[in-house]
């Protein structure tokens, strides 16, 4: 204790930087495990209802804009790269580069949320928000496909499509909320990085935030195929 009493950024109850760093990283990983289970509840609901309504989910999924979803996937992966690099720079203690990469991550996060905003607006315009105004329009080809697999009841198609969009909004909404929280945390990190507090001994905040950001990326890695890519194979 006495040897590290004057060490900057070493909390009083830790004996060494290594203990502090490993504690922070383990703590963050436990939080990520918690997040897995949190989204896990939603994924369970998705799986149950998709198993119950495979064909209608495909039709509803086709309504999503694959370009917006695809670009967002790329944006998020790129932001994961900039974040990973920010952590690397933090390990090396290069403040300016940390700031630059954090800013890049923030901007990419902003792009993602921006695209999400346009995506949501389109859903409102097209009456794809669950509720009494919900109205899924299917073209003749899609209707023909559904008829071929034995689904012709319009009320059922509408209700199950609403279920798809309920889950879509719950999952992507919660994901977007995580993005916003992440962006707020970047704003908290940037001045710290600017002041040069991060170095090989002390970079836990950047590293832990990185774990959070990557986790949010991973959630999207699953959401993209599960929500956007269904039903694209029809007629292929």
């Amino acid at each position: 204790m006495s040897s590290s009493a004057h060490a900057p950024n070493l909390a009083h109850h830790f004996e060494s930087y290594e203990q502090q760093r490993e504690s922070a990283s383990l703590g963050m990983w436990l939080f990520v495990a918690q997040e897995i289970m949190f989204f896990g509840g939603l994924f369970t609901a998705y799986l149950v209802y998709r198993i119950n309504n495979p064909e209608i989910f495909k039709m509803a999924s086709s309504e999503l804009n694959i370009y917006q979803g695809g670009i967002n996937t790329a944006v998020l992966i790129l932001s994961s790269l900039t974040m990973a690099l920010a952590v690397r720079e933090a390990q090396l203690g290069r403040s300016k580069r940390i700031v630059a990469l954090l800013v890049a991550t923030f901007i990419l996060g902003g792009v993602f949320v921006g695209i999400k905003y346009f995506e949501y607006s389109a859903k409102f315009e097209h009456h794809l928000v669950p509720g009494e105004h919900f109205d899924l329009h299917l073209n003749a080809e899609e209707l023909a496909y559904l008829e071929k697999v034995g689904i012709t009841d319009q009320a059922k198609i509408q209700s199950r499509a609403q279920m798809f969009f309920s889950i879509y909004f719950a999952m992507t909404g919660l994901h977007a909320l995580h993005m916003l929280v992440g962006m707020a945390l970047i704003i908290w990190l940037i001045p710290k990085a600017w002041r040069g507090v991060f170095n090989a001994d002390y970079h836990n905040p950047v590293e832990c935030f990185g774990l959070y950001w990557h986790f949010v990326d991973i959630v999207w890695i699953f959401l993209f195929p599960l929500l956007y890519l269904l039903g694209r194979n029809i007629g292929a």
Partner: protein, 111 residues
């Protein structure tokens, strides 16, 4: 809080700094896999196979992020255990709920 902190910090106190090349390679792999998963989605191999490929690619991508971007490759055993537990518990939730759903059949019969 001061710059002296940098001076007397041991340069590599047991922190593993990954090389830049690894990060860019993983990024490339993630983008390519995203392309493949989108491409496959537009081809019909039978729904089961399509789903299997989509999930397989997503799991691969997630593993790459976890192992490289999140440094689990160089993490302590405890951290690895936490990652595995998180996934295993998720699978428990899936398995038992879906087991019942399959055995019970679709819930509702009303339109």
């Amino acid at each position: 809080m001061s710059s002296e902190a940098h001076a007397d910090s041991h340069a590599h106190s047991s922190v593993h700094v990954e090389s830049l090349g690894v990060y860019f390679a993983i990024f490339g792999a993630l983008i390519i896999l995203t392309g493949i998963t989108a491409w496959v989605a537009f081809h019909d191999y039978g729904q089961a196979l399509n789903d299997l490929i989509a999930i397989g690619i997503a799991v691969t991508k997630a593993s790459l992020v976890v192992l490289f971007f999140m440094h689990v490759r160089h993490s302590t055993k405890v951290v690895k255990m936490v990652v595995v537990s998180g996934v295993v518990w998720l699978l428990v939730l899936f398995a038992f709920v879906l087991g019942d759903v399959f055995a019970r059949g679709p819930y509702s019969v009303i339109g």
